[in-house]
Amino acid sequence: MGSIVNREAPLVLGIETSCDETGIGIVRGRSLLANVIASSMEEHARFGGVVPEIAARAHLEAFVPTLEESLRKSNVALADLDAIAVTSGPGLAGALMVGIGAAKALAVALDKPIYAVNHLVGHVGADVLTGDSIEYPTIALLVSGGHTSLLLVRDLVSDVELLGETIDDAAGEAFDKVSRLLGLGYPGGPRIDEAAAGADENAIAFPRGLSKPKDLQNHRFDFSFSGLKTAVARHVESSDLTHLGSIAASFREAVVDVLLTKALAACSELNVPRLLLGGGVVANARLRQEAIRRCKDARIELRIPPLDLCTDNGAMIAALGAQLIMAGREPSELTFGADSTLPVTQIQDLS
């Protein structure tokens, strides 16, 4: 395969297919040139959650149109690229493999180096595209339908540590399940937001998972949302739904509270006065609003990239690829595969 020509400001195409968004982005160094996303979200709506096989089929269908649109928008020719970057994990194996197959063929056809990168670290990498990116170390809270992780990032390309993650459902998944319980539809986040508008978020005291002293010993920075989901279900069974708004608002408050309490505890205990948010759940206005308020009170610098860089996207993968190149890293071997549980410590999948 080709070798890197430009390590100063490499032109990188990033491919992301780990869940239900087909994302292709193009960056030059730290500058965003294109970020095109095709989502199969609507196809999953009637099932109330992401169906892996439907997502994988949709990736194959969307790949070429998404690629072509990203080239058009950035006015870049494939031949001009310095490298290809692709998500190799974590995520849905069958979905990841579509992106990997496509990325490898592009790399061989164009004779370009390929970088297999970590999806979660990609969410952190999205921040470098915002122009005034965060300093390190930082705590990163990554929340979506597929993951809920708290990271300590000392260096984007060499030192990322997992502080905690969900032990059952992802936060976005909890929104979807509770939304279904309340008959509000899919995706849960925006539906619950609508129902919760103007309602009292302290009406019902729903439990905060893994927050009791005995849980904190073993799960200081881990999350759990299945107990909360069960509590909402019980509440729904034992009462009528006339106060649907306050159930939705109180549920949302419990999620937001536990996410931010743990994230800010990590900032304070590890003495890191910076917090970066990422993942699709950042679209939730209440989460952003509370994050701003609490970070201000605690004198923590808060970074929230624009929403289309927070949801799963190819630009963040391209950005992380570019960072690896700029840091002098060699490309991945062509032999890597999909790793649905790729740990965050593995920022680049070498083979």
């Binding site: 892996p52 490898k104 592009l106 061989v108 969900t166 998944e173 032999t335 549980t341 740990p343």
Partner: protein, 210 residues
């Protein structure tokens, strides 16, 4: 020169030209498609010492076959096609098997089946209008239990049954080349899935850390 890919069984990559197979590289691993695909394409190019830009088309087997692996080869083929600005020629992997077996056996009707797991077979029935003609689909492709399959083909008359566990990319390439020269038709962009998506909701993967 055509690059041909089939990942409906293992992963197979070949380069064909003017009715000849110039090279074929294979990985028999029925689960390692994503790992193998790049290396196999590269191996074909480097053994012939040709550049990708010398290729005039990409041919790909559209299945039927286990979905996850099948998609890897198709994704690679379409993206290779875009990268080089050459056409992607999509054919039935079963038709490629039929063409390959015909040259050695020369029968008139052929039932091709491949493993569909869960005690089912993917199958397609072809006939050959003449000794050097291309296979014509007469029934299928479909997915059936062995019992259902017997019923489905009971009116087919005399045929040779070919149960194959392997699809060669060279056959996919040679079939595409002949379809191209005879003005035959290719398949559309949707793989021959033949089975609806199994509905399971994605959940957070089991934790591996800590």
């Amino acid at each position: 020169m055509i690059l041909a890919i089939d990942s409906s069984a293992g992963t197979s990559v070949a380069i064909v030209q003017a009715g000849e197979t110039l090279i074929e590289h294979n990985s028999q691993n029925a689960r390692g498609h994503a790992e193998a695909i790049g290396t196999l394409i590269e191996a074909c190019l480097s053994s012939l010492q040709i550049r990708p830009t010398q290729l005039e088309a990409v041919a790909v087997g559209m299945g039927p076959g286990p979905f996850t692996g099948l998609r890897v080869g198709i994704a690679a083929a379409v993206s290779f096609g875009v990268a080089l600005g050459v056409p992607v020629l999509r054919v039935s992997s079963h038709a490629a098997i039929a063409l390959e077996r015909q040259s050695s056996l020369g029968e008139e009707r052929m039932l091709v089946t491949t493993d569909a797991k869960r005690r089912q077979r993917y199958w397609s029935a072809f006939e050959f209008p003449g000794p050097f003609e291309l296979p014509q689909l007469v029934l299928g492709p479909d997915i059936s239990s062995e019992e259902q399959l017997q019923v489905a083909v009971s009116n087919l008359g005399v045929f040779t049954r070919v149960d194959s566990e392997w699809v060669s990319a060279a056959s996919v390439g040679l079939l595409s080349e002949r379809l191209q020269s005879t003005g035959g038709s290719f398949l559309g962009s949707t793989p021959l899935y033949l089975r609806s998506p199994e509905v399971t909701i994605a959940t957070v993967p089991k934790r591996v850390s800590q």
